[in-house]
Amino acid sequence: MTAKTLMNPNPMTLSPSDTVAIAADRILQHHLRHLPVVDAQGHYLGTFSVYSLLKLTLPKAVLDKHGLDNVSFVTEHVAHLAQRFGGRRDEPVTNWLNIHEVAHPETPAMEIMLLMLHGRTTSVPVVNKENGRLEGIVSFWDVLEKVRGENA
């Protein structure tokens, strides 16, 4: 079993010019966790995910790699978080991409499961090795369905 047999070949995607507001709508509307971002030629650029949304509502000082690891001294109201998110609604999604490890169509299933486990992610983009285009996306659910199907 490889990525090609597991993946959804027509995932919902975002384009680089889409705004944070559009991405947030889609994520909340469809209850998706990850939206791959692809350019006009279909090249995979990164993933906008629920974690991107979390980051959008946090101060930059917390997100820095040497940033604060304890912010329990900050007492913010939901209104403040909403305000921060509001200020970033019109930014392009490309400002907030997560660069995940990707799979290739020929990547074996076990390797993909390991990528999910180590990357703490529930879906893995499948990218063509030669041209960098997004071929599909393998989600946690696809893999589990297959595994259960074999035993059913």
Binding site: P59, A61, D64, H66, G67, L68, N70, S72, F73, E76
Partner: protein
């Protein structure tokens, strides 16, 4: 680094004169360190090896060149800081100080500048900015003011504050160790002038930025709502840390009457704090905690020092530095004032562009060689203060003048408000010259 007690070979590898071989190797080492293409620890260790392979030193002589008092003190303090920083006490102080001035943007800028200076005097500068800058970034984000003035000031004041004490900046540790100066000697001789420099540097910071900073009342309230007590992550650990740091500082103060050297105090303090932190835990947990504390020490800096001490000792043992000292004395006519001023200003300008650690490592034996001209080691005191002030404050001249500068620049870059080389130079270099001018007056008035 102690004179030239080594038996010298008359020729080294390839039949070269040892002085030439050592000098060429030394200059190459400097050049490669300055290009920053290869990690400085690798460069200095390779160069140390080449001093030995080339026959300038044998291993025994090389090891004698390493100042283990400096190394021990550095490691001891690094371990103590690695444990203490986990307690959140430095964030507590930063937030507390911001609230003391009612979260006014200029008040916070001034307070955080002074806090940075004071913390830098007790910790190394890189650690200080790593602890304070994230708080500053959070506060500026909440106040919706530019972070640039704050980040700029953290750079400048960390270098100024570090100048005040034995443990504030590596050049002071090296000078103190090589000359046998105590914590008190540094505080008594340098802290007064550092206090003046802090006050004086706040003036341009106010004129350029401070007076124009404005924040909305509602945003200031958000900072006032910070609960600094929550920044303390581990109150029990904090008490242990403060107790150990208190005893360590007291031991530094009484080091001379106790007959203790700095490395003993630093390493014993580290061991005591590790004991206090570890004893309630089982063996497995203990080794995790100890591993963490040791990993946090900056081994690149430590090994850089080890290699550098050997390289400089190699050069010194060939008599090259004595020769250089004689030339310098000929230039200044053996006049103490002229020599002190030359050392102060050249250290400041050079340290603005090159790493001050190798510079100071080289200057120490060079200045020691001047002792006969100035009536023995006692007569050299003004020169040591000149070296310390110049080398530490010079780091403020450019963005590459000290490692803390680059750490802050990294934060600025990631926060989307980059600090560029030339704009920084245009503001910081004149401020650095002003601080050295203050030191010139101070040295002249007090010692010359």
């Amino acid at each position: 680094m102690h004179g030239s007690e080594t038996q010298l070979a008359s020729t080294v590898i390839f039949g070269l004169n040892p002085m030439w071989y050592a000098a060429i190797l030394f200059i190459l080492t400097y050049v490669v360190i300055m290009t920053e293409r290869i990690n400085r620890a690798i460069v200095s260790l390779l160069a140390a090896g080449l001093m030995i392979f080339g026959g300038v030193l044998n291993q025994e002589a090389a090891v004698r060149g390493v100042d283990f008092n400096t190394i021990g003190l550095l490691i001891g303090m690094m371990v103590i800081v690695a444990i203490t920083r986990q307690s959140g006490v430095f964030q507590y102080v930063a937030i507390w100080s911001a609230k003391k001035v009612n979260a006014s943007p200029w008040g916070i800028l001034a307070m955080l500048s002074v806090v940075t200076a004071v913390v830098s005097a007790l910790l190394d500068n890189v650690t200080t900015v790593l602890l304070i800058v994230p708080v500053a970034l959070l506060i500026t984000e909440e106040l919706k003011v530019k972070a640039y003035p704050y980040l700029f000031s953290m750079i400048v004041f960390s270098n100024i504050g570090g100048t005040a004490t034995l443990i504030g900046d590596p050049p002071n540790i090296m000078i103190g160790s090589a000359v046998g100066l105590t914590f008190n000697d540094f505080v008594v001789n340098l802290a007064p002038v550092v206090a003046v420099v802090i006050a004086a540097t706040l003036v341009p910071v106010y004129v350029i930025w401070g007076r124009n900073l404005k924040a909305a009342a509602e945003d200031r309230q958000r900072v006032m709502d910070f609960n600094e007590r929550e920044a303390i992550t581990d109150p029990a650990l904090l008490k242990k840390c403060l107790a150990v740091i208190g005893v360590v500082v007291l031991s530094f103060v009484f080091a001379r009457s106790l007959g203790l050297e700095a490395a003993t105090i630093g390493l014993f303090g580290a061991a005591a704090l590790l004991l206090l932190q570890c004893w309630p835990h089982n063996a497995d947990e203990q080794s995790k905690l100890v591993t963490h504390a040791f990993t946090e020490a900056e081994w690149i800096t430590i090994f850089f020092f080890v290699g550098l001490f050997i390289v400089v000792h190699g050069l010194d043992s060939t008599g090259a530095l004595k020769l250089l000292a004689d030339h310098l004395l000929a230039l200044t006519g053996g006049d103490l004032t002229a020599t002190a001023m030359t050392i102060l200003w050249s250290s400041a300008v050079l340290s603005a562009f090159v790493d001050n650690i190798p510079f100071v490592a080289t200057m120490i034996p060079l200045i020691k060689a001047m002792a006969p001209t100035f009536g023995g080691p006692e007569g050299l005191m003004p020169l040591w203060w000149a070296l310390s002030l110049g080398a530490c404050l010079g780091g403020n001249g450019t963005l590459i003048g000290a490692s803390a500068n680059l750490v802050v620049a990294g934060f600025a870059e990631r926060a989307g408000q980059p600090i560029r080389f030339v704009p920084f130079l245009l503001m910081a270099f004149p401020m650095m010259l002003m601080s050295v001018a203050i030191c010139t007056v101070y040295l002249y008035w007090r010692y010359l």
